[in-house]
Symmetry: C2
Subunit: 478 residues, 2 copies
């Protein structure tokens, strides 16, 4: 054992790490490696939340998270929760009130997104919002709109998520500039599942960058990703175009600075499907290989996601080097659709049929299946919607140490969060169900004594379409 002086970046990481108490004497035997990849080291540490060995490794999954899931790597868990909270934030920011003139938009401006949602320490800054248009009306129950048809917000457009870039502090901690793409899922109810079942038909991904017509994805997901409405400034470009342009813009900036980068795409539920689809598209478009820069690793942190494409799609995602980690509650039924009958398991039994029909849906990536019945905080009987709940999943992740380990309570994540959008906790904890709500549904009393939903100013500043156009031209997409 030799004394070792940590470099500034690592020191910073340790000082700010939620599980590591840096006041504790640290002993380690470790060879320093600049890349911090595939080089395990151990630190003996104690903290209020954890008194165990921490293995610090690359969370981006270059090795498909081999050896990091069982037992669960605490650093990976922590970062997974962080990405999950960024996805959860979309639900809270989304204006889903049909009585609002701005229903379907994001309630807060991108500049103060994390602050307004009480996530000051997210470590990211939003660079762009993502919008999608319901032009084809293929998934009517997914898109929501205001009761006022002639309001200031285009009723066919929904806010779909955001692109964010890690700030300097987080970039230092991660050892790279992380570009996060975060997709909003569906509002709590599961009516959209019905939409999905109605549009099980897989369609060729050829209107993406794909060159193989046998690569097929769910028509519904593809439409959300590619539909646009030329008449509307928010969806003049499709979600796809907005993202490709933004990734090009941001990677150009940091590439020119010579920074290492990563692209991490995340989402819950339907947002997870869009995350995988967009990861595939970004890689297929070659945006992970900018000029004069080393390849940017692309990872997907998928939460409770359904299947997205067929086996050909899965193979291509693997070939492209995209790393997917699928976190889900094993009792949740959403990850089983589409393809309850024809999926990656049955295709192994009848591989020639699968190849011939291109019809077998297949999950992509590594699995991290969690089990809500292991948490003593959770009700014994949950309905379908609850088993699919994102906050429940984060709670399960927080208490997870490995397949055969017991669920560990009180690791620091407040259990009350589990009931934020659900009725999941046992009554004895006295946490009201569905407690996340704003005062008086956002109505405010004005000087005349009238209760009104405030006008929202500067809503048109959310997108920078001129830039999108410029980058799409560079990408030869328009």
């Amino acid at each position: 054992m030799a004394a070792f002086k940590l470099n500034l970046s690592l020191n910073h990481h340790l000082q700010n790490h939620p599980f590591i108490n840096t006041k504790t004497k640290i002993d380690f035997s470790w060879q320093f490696n600049k890349t911090l990849i595939n080089q395990p080291f151990t630190i003996t540490c104690t903290s209020k939340h954890m008194e165990k060995m921490v293995s610090l490794r690359e969370i981006q999954g270059p090795d498909n998270w081999s050896g990091m899931l069982d037992p669960m790597d605490p650093v990976l868990r922590n970062d997974l929760i962080r990405y999950g909270e960024m996805a959860q934030a979309c639900y809270e920011a989304f204006d889903k009130d049909p009585y609002s003139k701005y229903c379907g938009s994001c309630k807060v401006p991108p500049k103060s997104f994390f602050q307004d949602l009480g996530m000051d320490s997210s470590g990211y800054e939003i660079t762009s919002y993502i919008y999608s248009s319901n032009t084809s009306n293929l998934i009517p129950k997914f898109f929501i709109k205001s009761l006022k048809s002639d309001g200031p917000w285009n009723s066919r457009v929904n806010w779909m998520g955001y692109v964010a870039v890690s700030n300097d502090e987080t970039a230092t901690r991660l050892g790279r500039r992380d570009i996060a793409i975060v997709w909003r899922g569906t509002v709590t109810k599961l009516e959209w599942m019905e939409d999905l079942m109605n549009f099980l038909k897989p369609v060729s991904a050829q209107n993406l960058a794909s060159r193989d017509p046998n690569i097929k994805v769910m028509a519904g997901f593809l439409h959300i990703y590619t539909d646009k409405d030329q008449s509307c400034m928010y969806s003049k470009f499709s979600a796809r175009e907005q993202i490709l342009a933004e990734v090009r813009r941001v990677t150009k900036i940091y590439g020119e600075r010579g920074e290492k980068m990563s692209i991490t795409i995340t989402g819950h539920s339907l947002g997870s499907a869009l995350a995988i689809l967009s990861a595939y598209d970004i890689a297929e478009s070659g945006l992970d290989k900018p000029e004069k820069t080393e390849r940017i690793p692309i990872s997907v942190m998928s939460f409770s996601g359904p299947r997205v494409g067929n086996t050909k799609f899965k193979k291509r995602v693997q070939e492209l080097g995209i790393k997917v980690l699928r976190v889900f509650n094993i009792h949740d039924r959403v990850p089983n659709v589409p393809g309850v009958l024809f999926n990656e398991c049955t295709s192994a039994l009848v591989p020639w049929v699968a190849d011939w029909t291109s019809f077998f849906y297949s999950h992509v990536g590594e699995e991290l299946g969690l089990d809500h019945t292991k948490s003593s905080f959770v009700k014994e009987r949950l309905d379908m919607v609850s088993m699919h709940n994102m906050e429940l999943l984060l709670h399960l992740l927080d208490g997870y140490d490995g397949k055969d380990s017991e669920f560990r309570v009180a690791r620091g994540r407040d259990i009350a969060l589990v009931n934020k959008d659900g009725d999941i906790l046992k009554h004895e904890y006295l946490i009201p169900p569905h407690w996340s709500q704003v005062e008086n549904k956002g109505l405010r009393k004005n000087s005349k004594g009238e209760w009104k939903l405030p006008e929202r100013k500067g809503i048109e500043d959310h997108l920078r379409h001129l830039q999108v156009e410029r980058h799409l031209r560079k990408l030869r997409l328009i």
Copy 2:
């Protein structure tokens, strides 16, 4: 027409009256009378909200509001709305969250009651809260309790309302010190109706001050009014005893000062029944005739109330000089129970049966029936709960000028209030239904990042039982 100098009190009234623009030239022909009773006078005035003749008379109803209801007297309407808002405030202050340890109590302390509810200009100060115990368990669906059975709040006790006294400014305006007794009604749903239907049996009011065993009232109401739980400091005395003691205490204070007084009792729904019952009891106990003081008029402003007692009860209430004004939506079914078949109408057809059985339920007092179909703001189809809604009733009152007059919109009361606890307004007004809610159901994030319902301090200060006891002894009730 002669110039006339108004006395200070009247001047003050006019200056503060919401409908009267005192900058307008005032012409009148009128003989001044100290009592201000039964002496109509007219003022030509203009205001933003009303440009019509205002008839200023005693709103306490000494003449059973004769000539004041059609056309509607604007001053009476204004005061009725004020009493109605005091009753509505009970719904907002009541902790009805079963996940709260304090479920069943009042969320705010009496000292800051009106301020905490945004009613700074109520013009009243609360002197005592009223509690009731569900000892007999006769109306189980009316009483609510916490899921936590061993919490700091007695699960059998519910906060039932308050006693308030007009402040100096309001007393000056009204020309008397008004003692308001305000009863909470039932939380929005109508399950308690089922309870009532199960306990239609009228019982003798003999355990009140009544001497006639044929005077009968609904057993359910009587139990809420008289039940007590010796083991609990909040319901050691029944609601009845708390009120009688408080009325004696307050009337003694202002009586000794030589002030004129009035007692106005109000409540919505089941609260209206308790208002009539307590008015009867106060008068029957002789509390309206304190020594060395002129009789204190007792009025009931009843909102959407069911029937309370039989025809003998009605007659006695009239004999005692209690004035009751019943405001209700003519489509609401609650005022028709109990006694859908046997009521004041059918008893007129078969009076000998009514007298013989003592079984006919009868409404007491003057009627002010309003019609929600006259308001263009209200949905065309409403369910039973909505038609019984208190805020809807206040909206109808606000727009009411008389039986044959059109509903007058925009008199100053915000229409958004109609949807505060209901789904009543037409969608086109874009007011979310049931918008009255607190941020995150009252959960607050503490310094450890945990979301908790805050502990409530000083809850035991809400009652002053020593005083209750002293006054009950004076009344020879204990």
